[in-house]
């Protein structure tokens, strides 16, 4: 009975993971292809990587993207963390529904709408108050911070929801003031979530094409914009090489981060599971 079911589930998992990973693996394999054609294997070579590193436009775009990513992720953390704190610890207040709406909606809002609306905002603001002057890195960072903050808020909120709030009360009872409690107790306890939130924001920012395209200006071309304009013309081995580098870099980052998070999770769950009955 359970045998049949587990065969079905196992094959579903195998099919699913094949579906998820085969295309990525093919990109990686063909990035080492000597020839320019995608379909024909012409021998192993790293020449596309060399070419990639000599492509100044690509390097500039990558540098832009990294800077935007770091700034957006950091700002998103600064805005999303209090938002998550408010959602999980502040109870009810008058316009809470609108607040939670503004956090949930960016998660699903189609990029074209977000991009267009932010662009129109920046144009209107420039007309009214003269800022921001034109569009560029600043506007991209603001745009990315906005939707990344929503993700950070959700990550922080779910972490705090799983945390016993009497721990913070205990700190207050022992004489610590709210700001001190946040830095001495809450912050260390949500550290894994902060890390995850920052990483998530960083990769989301690094990945965004549509919103950046709307709010970018001359000289602020990001890596996805560059890749997109090149990919529109078809497959290119240079993009394969770039894709491989991105995949490898992000995978290493994510694996390290998940191991860290998992370790602290395990510590936490051990602490919860420990039966009070077993006396040491």
């Amino acid at each position: 009975m359970s045998g049949k079911r587990s065969i079905f589930l196992t094959s579903a998992l195998c099919f699913g993971f094949a579906f998820l990973y085969v295309p990525i693996l093919l990109v990686i394999i063909y990035s080492f292809n000597e020839g320019k054609l995608v379909t024909v294997w012409a021998g192993f070579s790293t020449k596309w990587y060399v070419e990639l590193f000599q492509d100044d436009g690509m390097i500039d775009a990558a540098w832009n993207s990294l800077r935007i990513g770091v700034m957006s992720a950091t700002l998103a953390l600064a805005i999303g963390t209090p938002a998550g704190l408010v959602m999980s610890r502040f109870g009810r207040f008058k316009t809470r529904t609108m607040f939670s709406g503004m956090i949930a909606a960016p998660l699903v809002m189609p990029d074209v709408i977000t991009g267009l609306s932010l662009l129109l905002l920046f144009v209107t603001m420039e007309q009214l108050i003269g800022w921001p002057e034109g569009r560029g890195m600043t506007t991209i960072v603001i745009a990315h911070t906005t939707f990344c903050a929503a993700y950070v808020a959700v990550v922080i909120q779910s972490r705090l929801a799983g945390m016993d709030s009497s721990i913070e009360e205990a700190a207050m009872d022992l004489g610590a003031k709210p700001t001190k409690i946040f830095f001495l107790i809450t912050l260390p306890m949500i550290l894994p979530a902060l890390m995850a939130g920052w990483l998530l924001s960083f990769t989301l920012s690094l990945d965004d094409l549509v919103i950046s395209s709307f709010v970018a200006g001359p000289g602020s071309t990001t890596l996805p914009m560059k890749v997109f304009s090149s990919v529109r013309l078809g497959v290119s081995p240079e993009i394969n090489a770039l894709a491989t580098l991105i995949i490898v870099a992000i995978s290493i980052l994510i694996i390290i981060a998940s191991i860290l998070v998992m370790r602290s999770e395990r510590q936490r769950s051990r602490q919860i599971q420990d039966d009070p009955g077993i006396v040491g």
Binding site: A12, F90, L116
Partner: protein
């Protein structure tokens, strides 16, 4: 021993507590209000303007004339959307494509999520990580990967022709089929994760109780597991459906010139035709359609948040 009369510092601290709360709420509130909510109002405003060859390329709605404000609201953009079958087709197409993709994603994602939830300890963590990993790697690159596979000179055609199964290459890229593959492929993790988290939380003894009471496994799944996982199904489906309706990159890269989707139409109106008011009215029309699912999504989010407490 503590003081009876509050010192100046204590008074300041108490002020901070009373107003610090407002500060903590205020920062994210203000940011999201300014950069998320206000922009929609501006889009709404500009959707009622007329396109002009100017910088910025639209007419002003309110103009200060000699005696008072001159309001020039232009419903023309919306009438134009209704009269041109191109837009209506694009809307219906987007909804159809998004809906079908959501169903396919659910059909692939549910057994996977269930399998992961049933797996033991470390295997489960590994599988979960395998689902999350592609979600972190670049979206654009994942779409790009399929170009090489589905193209006329792509891997599938090369393989099939190499094995002499077909003599003419199959047209797979630049079809609706390719768009389905693209959406399902890129949004699969969004479906699996919420499904997994409801399935994982489910009390295993419920299923055992059903079996114990004489329910067959398949029936127990239909009567117990499936209804209890509905919140996950809904959350996952909305996470796929809503962004898929407005998808631009996938139809642009994998779809053909005939694969009209509303996100792509908006992009073209904006970047190719430089008609900002029409682009705005397309956005508003899309938003009106999406408001209900978005609010429903928020409702579910709120519920799971309360259940978490």
């Amino acid at each position: 021993m503590s003081e009876i009369k509050p010192t100046l510092k204590q008074r300041f601290d108490r002020w901070m507590i009373r107003h610090g709360r407002v500060l903590v709420i205020g920062l994210p509130y203000l940011w999201l209000f300014l950069f998320f909510l206000v922009p929609f109002l501006i889009v709404l405003k500009i959707s009622f303007a007329t396109a002009e060859y100017a910088q910025p390329p639209y007419s002003a709605l309110f103009q200060w004339v000699d005696e008072g404000v001159n309001v020039a609201i232009n419903f023309g953009n919306y009438l134009f959307l209704l009269s041109d079958s191109l837009y209506i087709t694009a809307y219906l197409n987007s909804i159809r494509i998004a809906a079908i993709s959501t169903v396919i994603t659910l059909l692939i994602g549910y057994p996977m999520a269930y399998g992961i939830a049933r797996a033991k300890g470390s295997t489960r963590n590994l599988l979960l990580m395998l689902v999350i990993l592609p979600f972190w790697t670049s979206f654009l690159i994942r779409v790009y990967a399929w170009i090489g596979i589905l193209d006329r000179e792509g891997l599938i055609n090369a393989a099939l022709m190499g094995m002499h199964i077909i003599s003419e290459p199959l047209i797979m890229r630049q079809t609706e089929f390719a768009v389905y593959i693209g959406i399902v492929y890129t949004y699969l993790p969004f479906m699996i994760l919420p499904l997994y988290s409801t399935l994982e939380k489910m009390d295993g003894s419920l299923l055992e109780a059903a079996l114990d009471l004489g329910c067959k496994p398949w029936k127990a799944f239909l009567k117990i597991t499936l209804p209890l996982s509905m919140p996950g199904v809904l959350a996952g489906s909305l996470l796929v459906f809503i962004p898929a309706v407005g998808e631009f990159v996938i139809p642009e890269l994998l779809g053909g010139p005939n694969t009209l989707m509303i996100g792509r139409t908006l992009w073209n109106e904006f970047f190719s035709n430089r008609d900002w008011p029409i682009a705005s009215s397309v956005a508003i029309a899309m938003l009106i359609f999406l408001v209900v699912p978005i609010m429903y999504f928020q409702h579910i989010q709120g519920k799971t948040e309360e259940a978490g407490k």
